[in-house]
Structure formats: structure tokens, C-alpha cells
């Protein structure tokens, strides 16, 4: 396969031209808004730490440099390392088997690697694949730091994944409109999810109805591979998210 260019110039030259499209049909060079992209490629972190980076270097960079999720932060709207590396992924266009490494083998060990891969998948994959890739991580309750313009807050992996599945703007990026899960179920593109978290989730949903869309909220994934598992396994997964993806 062809090499990558070390910098972003050719990638951005393809904006509006005939660059390879993402699996969801979008042009990866225009998925993030232009003012955000301009901030990214102008910042020092991008020039220093994202130059010459390939799919494996992404892992090193996340482990060393990513300590919070977020889009742009502070009064100066500085792009976060998380956002810069997400943009690098848009340039690198990693394949599904690489994303699986980020999500599972790497994601168990490095939570921000899993968060980054989830964000990238939400931007570039078709809706059915977004659900299939992301839903298994709804029981992942590890903490994530989040920086916004106003300051640092605490969130959780499951909350972040839920945001990616239900919100239309995450980390300074407008996410394309995905059909709701039940529509894909009706079209038989997705199988209905069997509740993994069961009653606990129903109780939680009852408490904050205004926040969480009860339909899109956590039921079980319908991933064929996952649904073959013993229910007991899944109960255990609930307590140890690290195992959920193994």
C-alpha cells in the first residue's frame, strides 16, 4: 500500500477534489469544520507531534500526550491533542482491523485510545457500523477528563460513547445525522439489542429521562458475536469493562 505523506498538505488539497471518501461517503478532509481544521494545522502540537505520524505512532502519541478529551479549549480555543490526533486519523484513514486494535487490545489498556477510536469511527463509519463498534463500550465506566472552553470536567467512557450515539455535536465537531437504532432494526440492518445491563439501566433511565433518549439508551448490543455469549459473562463485564472487549 502507498505510503502516507508526513504532512497534511496533499490531504487538504483533496478538499473539494476527488480524495478517497470515508466508508460513510463523507470526504474526510471536510468532516471537521474549516475554522477548526485551520486552528489544528496552525497549532504547535500539530506541527511537532502529528508530523510523520503513522497508525502505530498514534498509539504512542495518545499514551504520552492525551490526558483529556475535548475539542477546542480555553479562551484561545486551543485545539486539544485529542482533536489534533482525531484529525490525523482522518488523514491516515485506518482500516477496520487497525481500529479493532485501538478499541480492544489497546482500548483495554489505554482508555483515551479507545475514546479516540470511538470518536473517529463516529465521524467516518456508516450508522450500522457505528452502533456495532461503539455499543459494546457502553458498560465501560472508566473516568475521562474533559476540557471545554469553560474548564475541566469529569465524564465517563459510557457517557462519551452515549454522547457519540445520541448528540449531534461532540468535541467541536458536528456529527452527521445517524438514523435511530430502531429504524435500522425495522429495516433489519441491525438486530435488536438484548439488555446487558437489564434492570439497572431501566432504573437509571427512569431517573434522567430528559437527558437520555430511552430508545437509544443502553440495551444490549445486537452484535452477532456478542449475542452468542453467556449472560453470566455479560454480568461480569458490567463490573469489569476491561474484559468487555477481549
Amino acid at each position: 500500500m502507498a505510503n502516507h505523506r508526513a504532512d497534511e498538505k496533499r490531504f487538504l488539497d483533496d478538499r473539494g477534489n476527488s480524495g478517497p471518501l470515508a466508508p460513510n461517503g463523507l470526504n474526510p478532509a471536510t468532516i471537521m469544520e474549516k475554522p477548526v481544521v485551520d486552528r489544528i494545522i496552525d497549532c504547535y502540537f500539530w506541527k511537532d507531534q502529528c508530523f510523520g505520524v503513522n497508525e502505530a505512532d498514534i498509539v504512542s502519541r495518545v499514551v504520552d500526550q492525551v490526558h483529556f478529551i475535548g475539542g477546542t479549549y480555553g479562551d484561545s480555543q486551543k485545539p486539544s491533542p485529542f482533536l489534533c490526533l482525531a484529525f490525523k486519523l482522518l488523514q491516515l484513514a485506518p482500516s477496520d482491523d487497525i481500529l479493532r486494535e485501538y478499541l480492544d487490545f489497546g482500548g483495554e489498556k489505554f482508555k483515551y485510545l479507545r475514546a479516540l477510536a470511538c470518536f473517529y469511527i463516529r465521524m467516518t463509519r456508516q450508522a450500522k457500523d457505528v452502533y456495532r463498534f461503539l455499543e459494546p463500550f457502553l458498560p465501560d465506566s472508566r473516568k475521562l477528563k474533559q476540557k471545554r472552553r469553560t474548564g475541566t470536567t469529569l465524564t465517563y467512557m459510557d457517557q462519551f460513547v452515549d454522547d457519540l450515539l445520541t448528540k449531534d455535536r461532540v468535541c467541536a465537531t458536528t456529527l452527521y445525522k445517524m438514523p435511530k437504532r430502531e429504524i435500522l432494526e425495522d429495516l433489519e440492518v441491525l438486530e435488536p439489542r438484548v439488555s446487558a445491563l437489564g434492570d439497572i439501566e431501566d432504573l437509571l433511565d427512569g431517573e434522567d429521562v430528559q437527558e437520555v433518549d430511552p430508545d437509544a439508551a443502553r440495551e444490549d448490543d445486537s452484535d452477532v458475536e456478542m449475542s452468542n455469549r453467556e449472560p453470566a459473562d455479560e454480568r461480569e463485564d458490567e463490573r469489569s469493562p476491561e474484559r468487555a472487549s477481549s
Binding site: 508526513a6 508530523f51 502505530a56 505512532d57 504512542s60 502519541r61 487490545f105
Partner: protein
């Protein structure tokens, strides 16, 4: 001409020969260089017409570009006052105040310009790189994750080990201090014992040697009876 020849006649002719040879070689080299320059100028001109930037053609010996192993090292420039002419937007030829690239002999006024230069095709060609990066496979990614994980685990183990070592060292120190205090206490006790002994000895010496038998008997008797100091007149 003949007068210029020295004692060793052959030397001069040797020199003549070498000079001639050099001249031929230089001429040949100059010719090649001119041809190359003409070619380069042509390519440069054509690139300009096409609205592109010109770079020297690749020789095939270039290596792929790699991501930086760490953050770009600006420490060598830290603490230096860098005053640059206001108009100096990009690199300035030669070594000057600021960020210097030895490969290209250019100086930049700040780290942003410097890193931009380090990333530029001009610089990459100067250090023999293509500006292309090897694509990693899923196996490469897996391998990298494992490598980082093992490194972190190893560091953690080292930390625990050094913590254990630190605790051991502290325990030794405490033991030593305790022993020192004990020794001090013993020394104090010993000194006191010796002082007491010495006192006792003085008394004994006084009793045995200095005190004349019977001399103070009367005083002693009076003291015993609770009387003392009736004055010397009564005595």
C-alpha cells in the same frame, strides 16, 4: 622559465603535469555542473509555470520520514534572548540569534518557524528524506501497543522496587539512629556512673586521708543532735 626550476628539475614538470590534470578535471566538472544547473533551472521554471514548488530530484538514496521520537528539542535555545529584524519572516541564511538548522544553515526567529522548517520539503530533502511515511499494519499497531504496555509495566515494577529500596534504606537509617541514641544514652549513664564513683572516691579519700581522726567529732555530734553554729565563742 628555466630559471624558475629549482634544484630538483623533475619537481616542476610534476607540478606542470598535475596542474594540467586538475585543469582538465575542473573543466569537466564545471561542464557537468553547468549542465545540471541548466537542467535544474529548466525544471524550476517548468515547476513555476505549473504553479508548483521545485525540489531537487530524488536520488533514490532517501529514507522515509518518521515521526519525532519525542518533542522537538528547543532546550538548546532556552534562555537565549532572540532579537530578530522585524521583517525576518522566515529563515535567515547563516547562524544567528534564534533557532538554527545546521543542515540547511538557516536561522529562525521562533520555535514555530523552526518546526515548520523541520517539516518543510526543503529541509527533508536536505537531510535525505522523502517526506513519505511508512504505513503501519494492524500487526504493527498491536506490536506497538504491547511494547508500550510492557514498558509501562516495567517502569511500574521499577518504581515499586525503588520504593522497596527506599523503605529499606529508611529502615536502616532509623536503626542506625536508634543505635546512636542508645549509645548516647549509655554514654551519658556511664559518665554519670563515673562521676558518682569519683565523688564517692573523693569522699572516701577525704575520710581516710585528709580527715584527722577525732578532729570533727564534736561537730558531728552536734549535727546529729540538730544543733549547730553556736558560734565560735562558745567553743
Amino acid at each position: 622559465m628555466a630559471s624558475k626550476k629549482g634544484a630538483y628539475e623533475t619537481t616542476a614538470s610534476d607540478t606542470d603535469f598535475r596542474k594540467k590534470y586538475d585543469r582538465e578535471e575542473y573543466a569537466q566538472r564545471a561542464k557537468e555542473r553547468e549542465a545540471k544547473e541548466r537542467e535544474e533551472n529548466k525544471a524550476r521554471y517548468e515547476a513555476k509555470l505549473a504553479g508548483k514548488k521545485y525540489y531537487k530530484p530524488l536520488t533514490g538514496d532517501e529514507t522515509l520520514t518518521q515521526a519525532r521520537a519525542s518533542r522537538l528539542d528547543v532546550s538548546q535555545n532556552v534562555g537565549k534572548v532572540t532579537l530578530m529584524p522585524a521583517g525576518a519572516a522566515t529563515g535567515k541564511r547563516g547562524r544567528g540569534a534564534g533557532f538554527y538548522c545546521a543542515d540547511c544553515d538557516l536561522t529562525f526567529k521562533d520555535n514555530l518557524q523552526w518546526v515548520e522548517h523541520e517539516n518543510s520539503m526543503q529541509h527533508l530533502r536536505a537531510i535525505g528524506q522523502t517526506g513519505e511515511v511508512k504505513r503501519a499494519t494492524a500487526d504493527d499497531v498491536h506490536e506497538r501497543i504491547l511494547q508500550i504496555w510492557e514498558r509501562l509495566e516495567e517502569e511500574k515494577k521499577q518504581d515499586v522496587k525503588t520504593l522497596g529500596e527506599r523503605l529499606e534504606v529508611r529502615k536502616e537509617e532509623e536503626d542506625r539512629e536508634r543505635e546512636e541514641r542508645r549509645q548516647k544514652r549509655l554514654a551519658v549513664a556511664e559518665r554519670k556512673r563515673l562521676e558518682k564513683e569519683a565523688e564517692l572516691k573523693v569522699k572516701q579519700e577525704y575520710g581516710e586521708d585528709v580527715r584527722v581522726e577525732g578532729e570533727h567529732d564534736e561537730d558531728d555530734m552536734m549535727a546529729m543532735m540538730g544543733m549547730k553554729g553556736f558560734g565560735s565563742s562558745k567553743k
